[in-house]
């Protein structure tokens, strides 16, 4: 079987480049097209990408002509493509993604535009693979032959992945999360060096709202044609710190049932999900690594666990003031597990489930 031809929408930005890195030697997918804004369309990729990766632009993509972000153009230039990965900014995604879905493309999107729409799956393959069934609702309702499937915000993914075994084993009533997020989450030019050197910025626009709402949808139950949000309380406080990649989050969680730190460590450590059972190509062997050291996880040392697809948990301890309270720290790679890798894993899950 040949590989599935894919396009990357918004391929010039930070997340677009991570898609390229992850898809470069992918066993199932093959990059056939790169799209960008009208200003960049028609030009060779290397002229318009503000390349930020340590590796060079892959030779075969350097001179690839960038297409406009438009399904007709894509269809004409690369008729073999059926799957598109979207690294579009949210406002652009809002317009463009439905057009692609309508034109028959499966859109695996990292954009926030449709995450909270009722009939759009918001999926972490280890957590709620069954939500993919919303595709049928979506197609029926919108008359699309394609589909849109989204992954959560980077901070949310790292959090929810670490929470899932606790939800399953002990039940989670509510949680407080305070984040220390990497600069790459804001895009290449998002944060001037003069803003970040010797500094912390305790605010990221709309980030706390995303964490507080997306978590409930992902952990919600698919009932009939929609998701009933989980009844968990989530309160977030989001901060930017001077780290290149890797979001670190301190979590205070109230469980339904009492659990010792050792039990929590154990259920996290042995946690796996469908991607592991299906042995999806991008799936980490263990989605959660539990470190025993007193001072881990640390973003520089832990963000690349299993190629950046695993999250790393440490400092699991009793919370002194919550009922059945547990505190811990979790780190994950915001651009890989938190963005491009999340979309790629969603696409692999869709292949396994024969949506593709």
């Amino acid at each position: 079987m040949g590989r599935i031809g894919v396009a990357i929408l918004g391929a010039t930005g930070t997340v677009g480049q991570e898609f390229i890195k992850l898809l470069l030697n992918h066993p199932w997918f093959e990059i056939r097209a790169l799209t960008a804004s009208p200003a960049s369309a028609g030009k060779p990729y290397h002229k318009v990408a503000r390349w930020h990766l340590e590796m060079d632009i892959p030779e075969e993509l350097r001179d690839m002509t960038v297409l406009p972000t438009d399904p007709q153009a894509l269809k004409e230039e690369e008729p073999e493509v059926s799957l598109v990965f979207s690294a579009l900014p949210s406002e652009i995604a809002k317009e463009a993604e439905p057009k692609f879905a309508e034109a028959g493309y499966v859109v695996c999107s990292n954009a926030s535009a449709y995450r909270m729409h009722e009939d759009i799956p918001l999926v972490i393959p280890e957590v709620n693979p069954d939500h993919l069934k919303l595709i049928e609702v979506q197609r029926k309702k919108r008359g699309w032959s394609g589909a849109i499937v989204t992954n959560p915000n980077c901070t949310t993914i790292v959090l929810v992945l670490s929470l899932k075994p606790l939800v399953d084993e002990f039940g989670v009533r509510r949680l407080f999360v305070s984040t220390m997020q990497a600069i790459s989450g804001a895009g290449y030019e998002g944060l001037p060096s003069m803003a970040m050197i010797d500094n912390v910025i305790p605010f990221i626009e709309r980030e706390e709202e995303k964490v507080e709402t997306e978590t409930l949808k992902i952990l919600g139950k698919l009932v009939g044609e929609s998701v009933v949000p989980a009844s968990i309380g989530v309160s977030a406080s989001c901060n930017r710190v001077h780290v290149l990649h890797g979001h670190t989050e301190t979590v205070f969680v109230e469980l339904e049932k009492e659990a010792s730190p050792e039990e929590v460590a154990e259920v996290m450590d042995r946690f796996t999900g469908e991607p592991q059972r299906l042995e999806l190509p991008t799936a980490p062997k263990k989605p959660i690594h539990v470190r025993p050291e007193a001072n881990r996880p640390q973003p520089r040392f832990d963000r690349d666990a299993e190629g950046g697809m695993a999250v790393v948990v440490g400092r699991i301890r009793k919370d002194p003031i919550l009922e059945n309270g547990i505190k811990y720290v979790v780190t994950g790679h915001n651009l890989i597990r938190g963005a491009a890798g999340a979309s790629v894993l969603n696409a692999e899950l869709m292949v396994a489930h024969e949506y593709l």
Copy 2:
């Protein structure tokens, strides 16, 4: 009236240097002696201090001969000294501070060794100035002619100063605090550059315990000869980030009575305490500055508010999951308001109360 002669115990370290800066042109106090470990004693100060301040070592102290940290030596060399500021490491403080108190010195200590002892005041002058009365208990019980008065850990001070108006106006039931602490809190050689560049360390030894216990003592009530700890729940998660000075803390607090963010901002903004009423020399005009901007406080911009003696609060907003919940962020200078400045303000308060 002449100025009171003072000595700085442990004068060569990071906090010791801040004491020098704060006391250099102090209207009430005059540096007469500097002490250090036996290895440094007998040498000129500039040879043994690992100077970290942007200003140079003051001319008059450069060649001052460092004394051993011993009350007899101090008494012989500088009989005029009656007040000592302690920047000693905790283990050294444990031995040395009682000897000074016994020898008649008032010890204003930044060390943690005696903070939680029943008869030792742990004071933030704006918060619990009346706890100074423990001095009488202490003298009676220990037979000292001098005294030990301590200030809290840096993280605790910044937190509790911001909490005090909430405690007074609305009552505080419990709180979660996640910190992003500056490297200078670990001392000059505490954190290798290789550990901190492009990184976060989510652990600071014994820090969370200090925050969780000291807070209750400071906010406790002096009843008879001891302090009844406040019945507030405190849970902390402490992290080191790549910032030179200034601890930033995200706080989730459950109040007794409902309060809007505007009300919280207002009571914080107009908060003052005894240091302000007494117009103590080192007291900030406003102990808490409330910033209206969405992205403040930031350590590089806010740590030096009022010479580093004020804390800066921002992002006051409703907490979605706590009853009467409020979230906010607070930043304060860990070496000034959080250490040396705290001790100096304690000493000024003692002068005003005629303990000195």
Copy 3:
């Protein structure tokens, strides 16, 4: 005598803000107007400035309405202004500055547009105050009632100030300079944090050319109506490092006459110029501070010497391969001595010479 009314052209940027800081309580000058691009004109200053300074925007300027960068508008709004400081980008300065000079304003410019024009003085007051006489040439030739006076590029100023005593005492034949420049030299948004964290960028556009040509003009001799460039060889290699403020430069210099490191240190240390003799308000007492420590100057510790108006030299030693060779390191504040402070000192010199 009343203070001279001044305007700051391009007041919203990094250098514009430094002008504000330096002029805020200036004994001779008073800020009467702030100009910016058409997009910002008409709005209150605090809405359009991307403020980067640790101090807040001064209360009296927060709501000042920004004017367009146009002499007619300035004349109408603030008829008392006779002096303008230009922090304009070079392309804008090229158009705008001559219009101001023609309209009668004295323009003290930090922009590079006219620095190398034959009849435009390029002045460091301690080095070539006599070059101000080009103003007369300029007025005659261009028919201006005002004037344009420029200061050098930040890197050049720091270098040339340190060289001047060597030129005077020993003669300088040629020099190599390799720089480690601060991020603030590129403007607030000039360098993304993702570009600078854990990195060096060994290139700054047109910087080496500026150092190599400006140096010769400043050290040149005014003969009749023009400056004969110094016959000194200059070769530069310019780099950006992760420092907020303060350019550090390693210099390898070949002297005409042999000099020991001690002699070099001595002539640098006792160097003064006209600003010191005239006691100009912004002049440092000593333009060059020589540090004896093996590891100084360092930008974080030395950039603020004398309010950022002095440069700091260290590591003066023999060069092993140049004839009469000397090596040293010099650091100076790129935004103060290297930009806004340089223009302000030029203006003060003009007042002293009665050009204003």
Copy 4:
């Protein structure tokens, strides 16, 4: 053929750990023993190594008992070892390395202690592989059955590797080099974070002397039983910047014969040496990578070229003041090409030349 058993002397430090990483799956060598100071000897490796690498300590070495740095102990514990890599501090190396050589071990040393000794080869395999012949002189003179072979200081290696093709093709008369060196060069605890944040330190002890002398020995000619140093003038100015790994050097070089930047780029680009001809396992395919971009090399992006074994050159341009002058910038990984990798490549060369 089985792999050669090797020991790493001084295995707990920064360079020792890089040796482990490089030797872990080496086709010719197999780690059999790790040595450290008496304080660490007898303990499991993971208890005494202050591990700094992003990868974890390899499973098979975690619990390996650390040996004292003593040939007798090594011989008893691991009789199969014949080659030792030395990451010892210079003072320790001075005592220990001759004992190992005397006991029959080949010592490939990164320490500076013996680099400049007349009968000790100081080798970069691409540059002066023939200097290995000094081993015979050394054995004869010292009566050793083993040998000591050294590699240069990290800064020197990066410089000399980039110079070698220029020496061969055009001749080099003299050069100035100003460095921007990574913090990892000082060892894990060598530079406190408080020293480096927002700063540059323009001094590294004895570094300039090493660059100025080692360069001449490496580029010298082996005549009879000793090396006649190259008659090239070298002047260095060494600085520490806030970069984790990767030394960047600006070079101003005077050639014997004129060469255009294009010719220089070409000879660098096609340069290879014996390691490439012999296809040694650790040899980079191209020792020098020439980047055409205006702003490269940059340490974060270029230090890992060919696993950190290639150096990266950019910004090749005419020098305006030197006869036949060329300027360029070169970056190399200080711990790999500049330290552990250099020793490993030396050992591979010795195997190929049958010294092992």
